[in-house]
Symmetry: C2
Subunit: 336 residues, 2 copies
DNA sequence: ATGAAAGCGCTAACAG
DNA sequence: CTGTTAGCGCTTTCAT
């Protein structure tokens, strides 16, 4: 037994015919444009209801030469940060802008090729892109085709909403230093354009304190890659007593690897993450982490996107939020 | 300084004019339909590249009287289960179907009203809906307007892909019973149509074992609501020694509440969740949980959606997966 | 307050 | 192999 097949969906013409008016009136009525008498309006709504008419947003966009959909590119929906950004963006979008077309990076290594293309072909009015991996020039190129709001990473000449990673990484590193750690490793992300700020800030801070930095980058942003890098750090001859990880996901991978080796946290190893994810707050995890306020980031990005849509000529936005180190129990003074 | 304003995006006509052929050829070339000579094709692609032409998927859909976009409704993107479902769905969609329009329940209590509407107005070809809160009849109504695939909940007469909650909840409850627990409470979800299976299975299993069930439902699916219900359970006069939670999120809320009260897990309280989330696998959390294979659920849902699109007359799909209890360290024998 | 007509960017017969 | 023509569902002047 199959499904009841829906008939061809009702169109404006159907409604117009039913009521005995022109399509124009129906169009006006549905966008409550001025110039439709109360009676007619009512009759139109009644008929529409009866016929199950639903406006076709795509056709409307086409006619209006105007794109109402918002495109959202996310690198990895499994990372809480991106889910938070999504929530923030949603909150910022007005009811009328509720066509959010999502594109999540498909490939493991996070090449964005097709992902962004599909948003362009869907003719979104603007793309909010979180953690694009493409180099700056490529993003700038794309921005010629469709307005882009870069989230969590500044791109010169492109609307950007991000967190001060330099400060965040410095705070994280200094925290470990202040606890007396000298051998502090950085479990870094892969080195994409625009995503090396945390690493460099860590290295700079270490050198500034007279320590020698040691970065072990993960091959990509997956959990497995994080684990591999963590293992490399923990199994090395000169095991550090502190690790600053590029994000909480990597920090938690390091945590697992540590426990698997019988290392206690923070007894044998102090651990700092980045993101302040919910998981890190759980009893027994209590991960010291840098909060980049992802939801706020998303929210502001959504607002910036709306502004850009309303005024293409407005100055390029450059919103930098200040992150915040949240100290919990995964860090402790270095043993003597 | 503003943004470089993009000129009106190039259209097929522009390309055609540039090359000196008709729009038809351009149209054919881009969908590599047969009947375009190699030379012409090349010339068209070159010109398109030069002009920065991108096909307009919305216009194509309109002309083709055919909807290529897929709508995805998710209740709460912060819950790992939904992120997994999304990943699964994405994996199932062919390259050409990569217009995934997302709609996440906005309101706290999860009323789906506007969410699904926006998908309909976006004229998606099919809606994959995870954990719709609407009653069966409403879903069936919607399915008349646009094909729907219900994920994680069976709806009669509508394509459904779900996990056997009855079996999962039974396994969870029996696990606690077999450990000798007698006072086992259920930290339940809110009682929406189609989402009471776990509770009922728990209650039935309890009664079958001669125990008296005790369900404390959360007001909604938010973390806060879960916490409130958890607190109610733990602060009650007759505190249970085992809790079976509707999902991992609730279980983790109960865990926090327990620790806040100085209760040890599993020493003073055995805890079973549902979802087998990554968080539950972490050292020190080690939550016993029922795995409903969310990603597979999403993947199958995507496949079912494609099938439905290809054959509207195919029999209604009813895919029920078997969940699996994963025992970890949050459960232990009841104290004597 | 209402309607006629043109057009948005694209596809799909149908002709040549 | 290539072009002509007629829409898809909707918006938008411009008349009436």
């Amino acid at each position: 037994m199959g499904l009841d097949r829906q008939l061809r969906p009702a169109t404006q013409s159907d409604v117009a015919r039913e009521v005995g008016v022109s399509r124009t009136l129906v169009s006006f009525a549905f966008r409550d444009a001025p110039g439709v008498s109360g009676g007619t309006k009512q009759a139109i709504f009644d008929a529409a209801k009866r016929l199950g008419y639903r406006p076709n947003a795509a056709a409307a966009d086409l006619a209006r030469k105007h794109r109402s959909a918002v495109g959202l590119y996310l690198m990895d929906i499994h990372n809480e940060v991106y889910a938070d950004i999504l929530s923030g963006v949603r909150m910022a979008l007005p009811q009328a802008r509720n066509r959010l077309i999502l594109s999540v990076s498909q490939s493991i290594d996070g090449v964005d090729a097709g992902a962004v293309d599909s948003l362009i072909e869907a003719r979104v009015g603007i793309i909010i892109a979180a953690t694009l991996l493409d180099p700056d020039e490529r993003v700038q190129e794309l921005a010629q085709i469709v307005p882009i709001v870069s989230v969590a990473r500044p791109v010169p000449g492109v609307d950007s909403v991000y967190s001060d990673d330099e400060a965040g990484a410095r705070a994280a590193t200094e925290h470990l230093l202040s606890l007396g750690h000298t051998r502090i490793a950085h479990l870094g992300g892969p080195d994409y354009d625009g995503h090396t700020v945390r690493r460099r800030s860590y290295e700079k801070t270490m050198r500034g304190a007279g320590m020698v930095p040691r970065t072990v980058p993960a091959d990509d942003f997956t959990q497995d890659a994080g684990m591999r890098a963590a293992v490399e750090i923990l199994d090395s001859a000169d095991r550090p007593t502190g690790i600053f990880a590029h994000n909480d996901q990597f920090a938690l991978a390091a945590r697992e690897a540590a426990y698997a080796r019988g290392l206690a946290i923070p007894g044998d190893l102090s651990l700092v993450g980045y993101d302040n994810s919910r998981t890190g707050r759980l009893h027994g995890i209590e991960l010291t982490s840098v909060d980049l306020h992802a939801m706020e980031l998303g929210n502001i990005a959504g607002t910036v996107a709306m502004d850009r849509l309303n005024d293409p000529e407005a100055p390029v936005a450059d919103e930098r939020l200040t992150p915040e180190l949240v100290v919990r129990n995964s860090t402790a003074p270095a043993a003597m």
